[in-house]
Symmetry: C2
Amino acid sequence: MALITELQGIVGTHHVLQGADLAPFSCDFLGGYAWEPLCVVRPGSTREVAAVMRCMSQAGIAVVPVGGNTGLAGATAAEGMVMLSLARMNKVVEIRPASRVVEVEAGVVLDHLHAAVGVHGLSFPMTFGARGSCMIGGMLSTNAGGSNVVRYGNTRALCMGLEVVLADGRVLDLMNALHKDNSGYDLKDLFIGAEGTLGIITRAVLKLVPAPRAFATAMVAVPGLAEALQLLNRLQEATGRAVEAFEYMPGSFIERHLALHPGARAPFDAPHAVNIMVEIGATAMRDAEPGPDGVVPIVTYLEQVLAGLMEEGAVLDAVIARNEAERAEMWARREAAAEVMISYPHRVDTDIALPLDAVSVFLERMEQVLPQIAPGAKHIEVAHLGDGNIHYSVALAQPDTALAETITERVEDEVKRLGGSFSAEHGIGLSKKSSMARRKDPVALEVMRSIKAALDPDGLMNPGKVLP
Amino acid sequence: MALITELQGIVGTHHVLQGADLAPFSCDFLGGYAWEPLCVVRPGSTREVAAVMRCMSQAGIAVVPVGGNTGLAGATAAEGMVMLSLARMNKVVEIRPASRVVEVEAGVVLDHLHAAVGVHGLSFPMTFGARGSCMIGGMLSTNAGGSNVVRYGNTRALCMGLEVVLADGRVLDLMNALHKDNSGYDLKDLFIGAEGTLGIITRAVLKLVPAPRAFATAMVAVPGLAEALQLLNRLQEATGRAVEAFEYMPGSFIERHLALHPGARAPFDAPHAVNIMVEIGATAMRDAEPGPDGVVPIVTYLEQVLAGLMEEGAVLDAVIARNEAERAEMWARREAAAEVMISYPHRVDTDIALPLDAVSVFLERMEQVLPQIAPGAKHIEVAHLGDGNIHYSVALAQPDTALAETITERVEDEVKRLGGSFSAEHGIGLSKKSSMARRKDPVALEVMRSIKAALDPDGLMNPGKVLP
């Protein structure tokens, strides 16, 4: 095939994968989508990405960019299309410690970036389960979130500069390390979160922060979700906004986790309905130097603050991690979320966001709604409560597509009524296109379509994704 | 004129200004631009803005949105056009203290917002000289900066949701109070900083933060600008990133300020070349409760940190404000910047941004370049050093357009070489269009033009601005 030969000419023969080599590129992370790509092309530089795109543009064949392929929305499905893997563009180009910035190629794996900047006492403060394989380009294309958004924002907030190859092979140079730059439209943020439908992200400049020198991590039980928001605000004020994670696990989650891990410990002596895992990061030196008892001040301080809140009745119980093993135990419980969810085989999963003060309203409302539409169905959720992102799931007794659809729509109804979003951090891809059609402001959809048409008139960039 | 009658029908007779009432809308803040608008229309609601835009779109007449008209780039010039003032849309719609958000109409004056949220112990952490008259819509349209960007980011970083009326009167609803929302392209950030060329911002949801409970403010002399960046990083690590302002004033600035204000005090006993005004905000409660001596811990702590740095030789001298009067004295010196600049009648002004580690390189380089191209010319600058934004000005002996152009181009050459921007916080408007043509990535300009054409095909939204 002439196209394959042409691509081989650009990137080298063994960087155009075909046949059996396509296996890892033919399904998504969760196995919900499967497809057969035409081939996978692995350029080694921006220049090669541009040449590939010129070639594809002339051939009129669609291109799906792919990083670590760890997305949860089916955005890399590529039936009959060419997949463009950024994996060879994996250089941490330059770390500038004094300016707290790093320049990377799109194929850098998150874990590698963590290690590279850690040498300088710095941190790229974004992490989640897929850190060992997800790539920066994919994180930017999906505006990845996670547990530390409460302190550092989404991937978008950590990106200063971007290089993008457009559908026709032009290279858009938005690379800079500037905290202020008002020179025309903000094009960078248009490509972040666009899931590869507007162009291919090839390089980026990312912000770094001093790595916290110590952590204070605790499990805290509070009377209700409204009180949980009060707790968040009180902790932010007590620590000067040093809350790194604020994760909600209901009693049902703790129970299920214990059932799956008989050797695990319960977080508290008595079970509670509203369990929060909170982590404070000691960025300030004075919070991190161990006292004569070996305890770092941030831990002592969190203990004092929580003791005060218990006296007020704002906190029911609290346990502070006394060492790294106890901290790891707390995180292991939270990171077992996927396992806990999967233990219910027939599920309706969601990835919703709500204003912080609407989270409790939503969950209370669903307590009334769910028994009406799905009698006997069990709901289970975890939430990045510090940023209003709930993974609300409903376990069904058996597969039931119609009921699943009804539940999804009712969840979306309540979310919309409360000013929330049907898509918080996982993105749209293929999996949420129908929600996008139902729920997104129609004028916003029109504007998105006109921008898509302006930047990719032939519809070759990851077609069929995001836009309904 | 039929158009005037139609507009009067939409907004009411006395909300269409003509004749003498146009005076305050016929020139810009600095008096560098003057024009005669067709009329000024003052809608009272989003619905009225939409009706006005439908009317203008049918008539094919251009529209220039205007807030407080305090911009510095001529973006409100409107010769023969209709100006649309947001001043009547001045409601603080809702403050949600638990969620730390506020919903506002575009015509809310910054000072009013500060007062409204201050009642709740909260702060909208953006401020600058024009706070008594600038409006939120204008701040968003120009992505305003200022002295607190080092801690809180530009206006963009403080905006969660937006409502925009498009050129044809469609209303784009992006209003939300969500920390995570991955539902399609990030349209919000496209309108922020677009200077009214893509649509009219009518409402917004803004982030709030707990107001600092105390401040520690100091003047610090360091050996050089490279050491100033070290000081910034050391203070960020010492305080857990609580630096609210980090402002650079060279010895020449201090000297001129003293010459203009004979009653003012010098910051230090001996003059220094590199003077930094630093302010730490005590957000954490424990930093703000006065000790037995009446001094708040954050002040004592900053004193300790600076004393340590003096022992190392990283700091030459430091003076901490002991009370609010001394703090005000420090801020008054910095806020005299406009006056100090204007005291040189023939100036070439710039508003440039550099990577933090390139600021010292740029200024050293200009020490060599300036005497070659403008022998005897004096330069004077102030910088928001914490965010890399320098207002570098050159004072000429007499007006000299050709020399001014040469100086601007050489400054831009050096800025570009160092990865900086010719436009940091004031925007493009009319005043920087030629720099935009010369310096902006050509592909970026093409993409901006295609987006402009997609959203405003008839070119009616603030035509002639931003895009060269």
